[in-house]
Subunit: 420 residues, 2 copies
Amino acid sequence: MSPDTQSDIKQKIEAANAEAVKRINEADPVLVDIAPAGEVIPGLKDRMILHSGPPVTWEKMCGAQRGAMIGVALFEGWAKSPEEAEKLLQSGAIKFEPNHHHQTVGPMAGTISVSMPVWVVENRAFGNRAFCRQVEGRQQFGEYSEGALDGLRLWRNVWAPALRIGLQKRGGLELKPIIAKALQMGDELHNRPVAASSLFANAMAVAMVEADVAREPLLGTLKYITNHELLGLGLSMAAGKASADPAKGIEFSTVVVAMARNGSEFGIRVSGLGEDWFTAPSPRVNGLYLPGYSEKDAGCDMGDSAITETVGWGGFVLAGATGILALVGGTPEEAMKYSQDMRQITVSASPNYRMPIFGFQGSPVGIDIRKVVQTGITPIIDTAIAHRNPGYPIIGAGLVRAPLECFQMALKAFGQKYMK
Amino acid sequence: MSPDTQSDIKQKIEAANAEAVKRINEADPVLVDIAPAGEVIPGLKDRMILHSGPPVTWEKMCGAQRGAMIGVALFEGWAKSPEEAEKLLQSGAIKFEPNHHHQTVGPMAGTISVSMPVWVVENRAFGNRAFCRQVEGRQQFGEYSEGALDGLRLWRNVWAPALRIGLQKRGGLELKPIIAKALQMGDELHNRPVAASSLFANAMAVAMVEADVAREPLLGTLKYITNHELLGLGLSMAAGKASADPAKGIEFSTVVVAMARNGSEFGIRVSGLGEDWFTAPSPRVNGLYLPGYSEKDAGCDMGDSAITETVGWGGFVLAGATGILALVGGTPEEAMKYSQDMRQITVSASPNYRMPIFGFQGSPVGIDIRKVVQTGITPIIDTAIAHRNPGYPIIGAGLVRAPLECFQMALKAFGQKYMK
């Protein structure tokens, strides 16, 4: 390839990446509905379970994701016992597809089925929609006990419908101001969405009273949302997905538009490389464990929640959320370093989402696979830890680095596509 | 004085200061009521107005405090026009007394009269109570327009009674967990009580629905408390006062138990020095102004809100609340430095209130007048700026240093009392 051609390609890449980041920055995510997944997620059918990460088969599925699938089969009434559920899932009668193939994201195992209410976020700047299921600490980690499923049933039957009524009366809820504000309140919007959760509950309390939700569901829902510190993660994930999707499919762009893990594989997608996943084995998490659990119990990294890092939140803004260190371990100095390092592998800084601890500098946006490979600095991701076997709730939380291999493979594919 | 006597006194001081800080740290502030001041504040009578800072006369009163007094006279119906109110206040028919002489604190002008609902905080570890009026941005800054007074009327007639019903049903609200959590959510609980306000609103939403507050006042109150980012300051001030008061009157203690300003004078009180105020002229504030205002419009530092710094919040934990810098100016590095400096003039660190940015180190507690005088490092205080003339709302916010002179005078008095 001549130097002129090389320089020409480089210019095309820079322009494409600028466009990708412009689209991410222009996103205007608005929560417009909380609806049963089957009503709103395109292509989601009965007897189908969406899951986190790149495509996966039952055979290759990790323990926690299998457990979560068993939970969904019971939740939907497709099976009457865990054994029956497992047989059904093994049989091929239930179809598994990645959330990301349906404009959707899900935390941890990420399992979504028809009757599960999901957050519906519309990106008003581009007209696209994204979906995310509710965050909880049990079924999505692979637990399928009646206790774990009861929480989901209350969400489906009482809390989500009450919120839906309030939201409809309100005419939607703009998430950009909540996210921007939460980032100045010690949130990183992944493992620590405490402020976003509280601000969301404030807004929905008014909305539900204004919509005359009946006393019993109103009170139950208020108690639920005002005591659920992870609630905001479902919102930031849906907002992240809605913000990243318009940046997909830009020819010549080396910007990452998705990072997702199924507990077996870690995968990334790149704007200029279409729908392909570039995968590597899912890494182990470096973190802290809940009492009774240790590293030997841990499964590998899992979940679509790295969509938050993909758009510049989560581990990328750890320095502004040092309250999280009690949960994931590490020091404030390390947190500062992570956030500074992420500037080296990103295209620019957000004009919307700012970090007071860095003098209101914007959060780092637009992971460039070239910069990752050149520097060897991989994206830092806040994450939770699931058990290696099915049947357990959350066992810990920590930090993980995206595997360098994914970025190397993507860059190789980029070369093959654009630099022949 | 012999070296032995000196050493003996030093030991007595250390023991007394350890006891003072122990009492502050053991405080357990609980919001137990929201009630008309006349019902609950000891010694508050009709035709009396409590104010911020050390004692002051109408003649020496600054413009903003005069304006706030005029507002109260109109609010209570003691006068029908600002002119009539001013005459009445000048005449001596209305008694002025400092909030601090009534277990009370008030933001800015600090004006409190019989019908004004106040936060009632009980320190359950010691049984004492403290009171603080509601924070707003107009009358307490000296504005007395009908618009400014309408806000106070709604607070008195609708919002406070609705919250009172909810709070009574709930059986009180523990403030220690809210304050501890807010400090990990980017609050410093003085100029920036955003998280505390949000957490409080969520707790009260549940409480008011549970107490079956009627739809109209419920909705009005919810809208008010979920959109009032300074609401939490009234709570932290009352909690600060309730926490500091048990540390009063400990023989030999050099720990500061109050810092307060009336816009004309800045005063401190010291545990071992009884009820005396040690005062100096109120300093000018270094800050940022709202559009249309500048330094030449500014009055001097005012308000009892420095009770938050007195117990180790506010400017003392600025490093954990860098979001505030957009409001008060300065850099994150300066904020870090302030919080580190405050450790040099305090007795110890709080076991309850921790700062993630410093690896969960406790906030600095117990200002020691000896250390202030020895180091020349004066307490740093977050504050707001009122106009120099009566009739204006808030015009800015910034930082101020407590005058060294107050501490020098107090130390001199300490020497005269204990080291003769």
